[in-house]
Symmetry: C2
């Protein structure tokens, strides 16, 4: 951020009075520009014994497999965001069951929220996917998954499926976790 989005003057980065962290400040109009984490909402679409995955057609991690997920937009709920992303990336509808993983990535200012649900009807590649396919547990391309959040969600799911109970899993991924993961792929 270089300029004030309100008045167009140059901003500076400093701690505002009464605050305890740096913000972009505009001395011309007095606006404090707050920046906050973003939610990535998605689904874990289940079709019997199989899980739907999408192979990414876009950066980052083009060519790697992911669950359908993306940035939540203004004006929608977390469930709506998850369903919209599933329609966009996999041309698929999902009957949502529960919020299944909530994963904090504080080093990149993201919070993943993946909802478990039943795939309803057909699917196809959306513009952001090279292909979309269903995988049994033994077929999951573990070494070609796009992000550590996706691997973690799938591992929880297959573990939980043995017991038939799918509680919410809340966890964090650190910068080191992510580097180790992306470095190994």
């Amino acid at each position: 951020m270089n300029f004030c989005s309100h008045c167009g003057q140059t901003v500076r980065f400093a701690i505002p009075e009464g605050d305890d962290r740096g913000r972009f400040l505009c001395d011309a109009c007095g606006t404090i520009h707050y920046q906050n984490p973003r939610i990535v909402a998605g689904t874990l679409p289940v079709a019997g014994e199989r899980i739907l995955l999408c192979r990414r057609a876009i950066a980052p991690r083009k060519g790697y497999w992911t669950l359908p997920a993306g940035f939540m937009e203004n004006g929608e709920t977390t469930s709506e965001a998850a369903m919209r992303e599933t329609r966009e990336e996999a041309c698929a509808d999902v009957d949502l069951e529960n919020l299944y993983t909530l994963i904090n990535l504080p080093h990149i200012d993201q919070v993943y929220m993946i909802f478990r649900g039943a795939l309803r009807g057909d699917y196809a590649s959306g513009p952001e996917s090279l292909e979309v396919a269903l995988f049994e547990e033994a077929e999951i391309p573990w070494h070609e998954l796009a992000f550590p959040t996706i691997e973690r969600t799938l591992r929880h799911y297959f573990d939980d499926r043995r017991g038939g109970d799918y509680p919410l899993h809340v966890s964090d991924i650190t910068a080191e976790d992510r580097e180790r993961y992306l470095g190994s792929a």
Copy 2:
């Protein structure tokens, strides 16, 4: 948003190519300025039979009672945000138990996430609170609560306490719900 925060030129609001919703666009440098919902993280601090509430010293809803909660910051996890807000508003520490309510407010682009936890030690008014106090169920100031998210979280808690089970509650608050609530106070 009037000006590009990257290059300082005037922005326009239009649907980018390949997108399906309006964004602020900079024709000078090509930046698309995305805007996304914010997370409000907080706690439901439990001390035996009583709940800690804070009376707000700042707008909006100055003078009304709330659970300690506020905007999640970059670089932190949802739990860290909830605990930081509790320290700031109530000078209190909480041993978090579980994510208890997740409430979408799509008309104001917010997602509330309230964690249930045990109050540990003392408490006092922080700079954003006029007073901080513990309330039994019969003492809750239902008509002087700051926000519908707070009322809903407290109602879930007292209902669940009768059964001793505290599952995550996911729900939405619409513009109409909120207007009805704030209009009635």
